[in-house]
């Protein structure tokens, strides 16, 4: 590799406008984001700022109207192999005509034998605490369980880059903590590169090496905060660590300032 490490996944001058009633409606403007290989970045911002739009652009699912996305030096025009996405609208992202196990195995059909597919899928389901539900259909389980199926599908794919859009929004607090720790474990074991959109500031700081704040209309990155915590994290001790609390307060303030500014603007 010729480029430096910091340029693994990058958005460069990224802008996006949706066309609404024949008029361009700018959502993102001049977003610059650099993610190092193996880094975990959390994106926070208000509802409707464009977090999902940014994630879709990073995934190659949406062609930005300006700027570009690069992965490992190559311009992203289509979803790259080795990248997985957990969608915000998880229940609509599962196929209702397939069992949970088949849903998780579906993306593995390119290049894996059926034995390998099955064992990987079962492993991933066990990892998210859904042992033994493989034969059910997605609509037979709760919303929180559906969300975990969507996560299992991404994990079984064993991507190098994992993009998650509010992946733990519908699960209970205990499961959420377990899933956060599971993501950290996977990171430590595989060196996966993570971009996670979340509303929860505690979660963002707990998971991330960096927290970026997306704000404004159109939105850009208004803050990029390094989380100065050791990689080994623990739900109790880390969340009581002064460094954790400092970053948490900083992010909290950024967002509140943004809210106030938005309030004045309208």
């Amino acid at each position: 590799m010729t480029m430096t490490d910091s340029e693994f996944l990058q958005a460069i001058g990224l802008s996006h406008s949706y066309v609404v009633d024949r008029a361009a409606r700018p959502v993102l403007h001049g977003v610059d984001l650099q993610v190092r290989a193996g880094e975990a970045v959390c994106v926070v911002g208000h509802s409707g700022t464009g977090k999902s739009t940014l994630l879709r652009c990073l995934a190659g699912l949406l062609r930005p109207t300006g700027g570009e996305v690069r992965l490992d030096g190559r311009r992203v025009m289509e979803p790259p192999p080795d990248l997985a996405v957990v969608f915000q609208d998880y229940s609509r992202s599962l196929m209702p005509w397939m069992s949970i196990l088949d849903n998780v195995m579906l993306p593995l059909r390119r290049g894996l034998g059926s034995q390998e597919r099955r064992s990987r899928a079962q492993q991933a389901l066990a990892d998210v605490g859904l042992d033994g539900t493989g034969s059910l259909y997605p609509w037979q389980v709760s919303g929180g369980m559906q969300q975990r199926v969507a996560i299992a599908r991404a994990l079984a794919y064993r991507p190098g880059v994992l993009l998650m859009d509010e992946p733990f929004a519908s699960v209970d607090a205990q499961t959420r903590a377990d899933l956060e720790d599971m993501v950290l474990t996977i990171r430590r074991d595989t060196g996966i590169t993570l971009v996670v959109v979340t509303h929860d500031i505690d979660e963002a700081v707990y998971l991330a090496d960096r927290v970026v704040v997306l704000a404004g209309t159109p939105a850009s990155i208004t803050a990029d905060l390094r989380v100065d915590l050791p990689p080994e994290r623990d739900q109790l001790t880390t969340k009581a660590d002064p460094r954790f609390l400092a970053v948490r307060a900083e992010v909290f303030n950024m967002i509140r300032t943004e809210l106030a500014r938005a309030g004045r603007a309208t």
């Binding site: 192999p81 997985a84 005509w97 993306p107 059909r109 390119r110 259909y137 609509w139 519908s170």
Partner: protein, 267 residues
């Protein structure tokens, strides 16, 4: 087990009382009929037994069923295949739409003389006509089904780089299946009409031919026996396709029931 039998029995009673009543009224009312076109039902039943249990079955019923089977198979297979392709090409679809609407609106039996002229009076013409009649309902519904695949599901297919075959057979087709099946059931009833119609026009066998021939030779009880057979056939085919629907769409019913319980589905 016995509870299930009981339920089945009650179900049959609920379903059957009206037909039983209708047949009884017909039987009693027509018992002393001397009208040429409405012979006593007892006479019709007698002829039905003599003709269709099972003397004339190989002569007239089997050829009709064969044509029906082949026509449906070809028409529906072609409809699903082209429906998937055209449903995924919005430009081509809007270009073809007026033409397709025109073709669908043309009564298929109006093409009968043309097709018989082109392909002769044999089995080929009949199967071709049946296939053409069966094609449109399934095709148009398949196109609609394919076009209405949830965009979120399409995104999943793209993000995880599913192969073309997997997208066609594991994503698009199952998602469109509820509409495909609606189309298929219409295709079955259209196909039955075309089977009978084509046999009335140019044929030496088949139930349609038999009914027309019976009328022409004033064998009115025979004619009625043929009509009753067609009615029974239609009823049976409908039962079969309803069973087929239940079988392939069990996930769909389950999902809708679950969504109804949860209100708006899991959000």
């Amino acid at each position: 087990m016995s509870a299930r039998l009981l339920r089945l029995g009650r179900h049959l009673l609920v379903e059957a009382w009206l037909p039983v009543l209708a047949v009884t009224v017909w039987w009693v009312g027509s018992a002393s009929s001397t009208s040429l076109y409405f012979p006593p039902l007892s006479q019709i039943a007698e002829r039905f037994r003599e003709l269709w249990l099972f003397d004339q079955v190989p002569v007239h019923l089997v050829p009709s069923l064969q044509n029906l089977g082949w026509g449906l198979l070809c028409g529906v297979a072609a409809a699903v295949a082209t429906g998937i392709v055209i449903g995924r090409m919005p430009r081509l679809h809007s270009a073809l739409l007026p033409l397709m609407e025109f073709m669908r609106a043309t009564p298929i039996l109006a093409l009968l003389p043309l097709v018989f002229g082109l392909l002769g009076l044999g089995v080929t013409s009949k199967v071709a006509l049946i296939a053409l009649g069966a094609f449109w309902p399934t095709f148009l519904n398949t196109v609609d089904g394919v076009r209405s695949v949830d965009p979120q599901i399409r995104e999943v297919a793209r993000a995880y780089r599913l192969t073309r075959t997997d997208i066609a057979f594991r994503v698009v087709l199952p998602s469109a299946m509820p509409q495909v099946v609606v189309g298929f059931r219409t295709s079955v009833s259209v196909a039955v009409v075309v089977v009978v119609g084509s046999e009335m026009f140019g044929a030496g066998n088949g139930i349609g031919y038999f009914v027309l021939q019976a009328q022409r030779t004033y064998a009115i009880a025979d004619m009625w026996a043929g009509i009753v057979l067609l009615g029974l056939l239609g009823y049976l085919l409908n039962l079969l396709s309803a069973g087929f629907e239940r079988w392939v769409l069990s996930w769909h019913r389950g999902q809708r029931a679950a969504a109804a319980v949860l209100g708006e589905g899991a959000r």
